[in-house]
């Protein structure tokens, strides 16, 4: 279980909401993890923490709204909805004609969930994507220096 105190952007509540949304965006399957996997959440947290403060505020506000909005329809918070209901709710917000900011909020969460999953090496195998060329100068120099090549 990911410890929120080790994160820079998320606190316990926003992490729970984001993780539930990330699971809808890239759901786990028997042979592959979802975007709620710890590595993905850590990467999303790192990237979000480096965004401008105004963008961070907007996303936090959206995550708080997302957590409580389902109370009106489903009587439960977003992070406590079953995955199929959470996905349907998120899709409703993505397509709402009422408030453009809600659509943009879903896009923001989607962006960082996808960055967490497809921006990390764990997805490369299922994509058939070889990743970086390890003969490039960056990796050659690290081999010479005896450093780890990294990758998550």
């Amino acid at each position: 279980m990911l410890d929120p105190s080790s994160l820079r952007f998320f606190d316990a509540r926003t992490l729970a909401t984001f993780a539930a949304a990330a699971r809808c965006i890239v759901p786990p399957e028997p042979d592959s993890p979802g975007a709620d996997e710890e590595t993905c959440l850590r990467l999303a947290d790192r990237m979000l923490s480096e965004r401008p403060a105004a963008d961070q505020r907007l996303l936090r506000t959206f995550l708080r709204a997302l957590e409580f909005l389902p109370l009106f329809r489903h009587g439960r918070r977003f992070s406590r909805l079953p995955p199929d209901r959470a996905a349907a709710f998120l899709q409703t917000l993505e397509r709402t004609t009422l408030v453009a900011r809600l659509r943009a909020g879903v896009f923001g969460v989607k962006t960082f969930a996808l960055l967490g999953y497809y921006g990390s090496d764990l997805s490369h195998g299922e994509l058939g994507y070889p990743g970086p060329r390890l003969d490039a100068p960056y990796y050659q120099l690290r081999r010479v220096a005896g450093e780890a090549e990294g990758g998550s």
Binding site: I25, P27, P52, Q91, E94, A100, V106, G119, P132, A136
Partner: protein, 496 residues
């Protein structure tokens, strides 16, 4: 207490504009003058490029994209030494015939002539090794696009690209790890530095005035080159100030500096070259990530519907982000990543007074709405790209604007790609070619700089980037920026 630095010319920005100005003025250093380049972003060298999206996002302004206030569009702009020439694909377009004469005629710029700019292009192309690549450079993604266009009778044209000894690794947009892409990072800046120009990365300019610049030096991010200057405030006094910080920064910097008499047009008339990716899925492996990504385009609908379609191929995260919606279908489609083809539609948007960059709470804010014409162009372009891929044998086509995730035949394109599916926020259009905001012109009420890039009322400040374009160049703008920057450098030289 600020550090003080005295020089003859200070150049703000090191991309297609600033890099060229630095190189052209570098001969002054050999005669004892001092020329300084201030770059807000970090200095990545080729050995720093690790080809990972999560790390190379540090090459971009705000570590990603800058959204408009309406979330209709998000602009990717480089913030690093070399500017956008460090992260573009090397596509080198000449300005379309007639564009510059149109600017000259429509904006009262008799000093700016088509013949002068066009005459500069062959020499600039030679300087950056821009050429039409041979057939051996065509990977499967480009071949499929070409074959689809040929099936439909769409003209297929080739780009000039500025590469030398390209390893065809496909990572151009994350910085060329082999130094094969001949942007300012590899060509003009090293030459300028060798002749004595001083480059100061991680140096964000806060305000400009004639003769003086206030800036702030920050720590170099890990894994980038640092400059030998103390961190903190920096005041630069210079005989000339060249502003080449790009369309998202140059107008904002002029506005933040509160220069007296600054044109009310400052920040306005932005064009963003709105762009969207779409994807075909083939039965056989394409491996679009291997080889040189961009070779072909079609202008079949440039005159009638105002767009180009170009080949492109991007990395897993950027690809996934460009797909509609989310969930199991997105994951299924991404599992076909090595069988995907990708095209980029680019719309010729028009300059409008309301599309602007302004300051809100001291921070730049981008207000931009897609016009009716641009929205119609995008819908038409996404359907055209689908026809191209189905003509080439695609089993499935996925468009970011669509009523459904998957389109499995050309007969479904019109029903799926609709205005109702084109909701702002749900679809965020991208942009990598922002232009305007400090546009050239004769009238100080309607324009910000004159034909040489000199700010109206402040001739000691010269703007030399895409922000001075009065209208969209319609094509990838780098070569046009270089030509105008070279002109600006000549003006600065003449005035020193």
């Amino acid at each position: 207490m600020s550090q003080q630095l005295e020089c003859d010319v200070v150049i703000i920005g090191s991309g297609a504009g600033g890099g060229v100005v630095a190189e052209r003025l570098s001969h002054l250093c050999e005669a004892g003058a001092r020329v300084v380049v201030l770059e807000a972003g970090p200095h990545y060298l080729r050995e720093h490029f690790n080809m990972r999206e999560r790390d190379m996002i540090g090459l971009f302004l705000d570590k990603g994209a800058v959204p408009s206030s309406s979330f209709e569009i998000a602009v990717s702009a480089a913030s690093c030494v070399g500017g956008s020439t460090a992260v573009y694909t090397g596509v080198t377009f000449r300005a379309p015939q007639g564009l510059i004469d149109g600017w000259s005629r429509d904006f009262g710029l008799p000093e700016l002539s088509e013949s002068d700019i066009q005459a500069r292009f062959p020499r600039l192309e030679a300087e950056i090794d821009a050429h039409f690549p041979g057939a051996e450079m065509e990977n499967a993604n480009n071949r499929i696009f070409r074959e689809g266009c040929e099936q439909l009778g769409y003209p297929v044209k080739q780009f000039r690209v500025n590469i030398r000894e390209c390893e065809r690794c496909g990572f151009c947009n994350l910085g060329c790890p082999y130094g094969a892409k001949r942007g300012t990072l590899e060509v003009q800046l090293p030459r300028a530095i060798e002749r004595g120009v001083e480059l100061i990365p991680n140096c964000r300019v806060l305000s400009v005035r004639e003769g003086e610049v206030e800036a702030l030096l920050s720590q170099a991010p890990a894994g980038t080159a640092a400059a030998p200057y103390a961190l903190g405030p920096l005041r630069v006094r210079a005989r000339r100030v060249v502003l080449a910080a790009g369309t998202l920064n140059s107008p904002a910097l002029l506005l933040a500096s509160q220069l007296p008499g600054l044109s009310p047009a400052t920040g306005r008339y932005l064009t963003l070259h709105p762009a969207l990716m779409s994807f075909g899925r083939m039965a056989e492996p394409v491996r679009g990530y291997e080889g040189f990504p961009k070779l072909h385009y079609t202008d079949a609908f440039s005159e009638s519907h105002h767009y180009y379609i170009e080949t492109a191929f991007y990395f897993p995260f950027v690809t996934a982000k460009s797909l509609p919606s989310f969930g199991p279908e997105l994951k299924r489609f991404m599992r076909s990543y090595d069988r995907l083809t990708c095209a980029l539609t680019l719309v010729h948007d028009e300059p409008e007074h309301e599309n602007r960059l302004h300051l809100r709470g001291g921070r730049p804010q981008l207000d931009y709405r897609l016009s009716r014409r641009s929205r119609e162009a995008i819908l038409h372009a996404l359907a055209s790209a689908g026809r191209i891929y189905f003509a080439a044998g695609a089993e499935e086509y996925v468009s970011p604007v669509s009523e459904r995730f998957s389109i499995t035949g050309p007969d479904q394109l019109e029903d799926a790609i609709t205005e109702t599916a084109f909701q702002s926020g749900r679809v965020v259009v991208s942009s990598a070619h922002p232009m305007g905001g400090c546009r050239m012109g004769h009238d100080p009420e309607q324009s910000v700089v004159n034909a040489w890039g000199e700010v109206h009322g402040h001739p000691g400040i010269v703007v030399a980037d895409a922000s001075i374009f009065p209208t969209s160049s319609k094509v990838n703008p780098y070569l046009t920026i270089m030509a105008l920057a070279e002109r600006a450098a000549e003006r600065v030289l003449a005035g020193l």
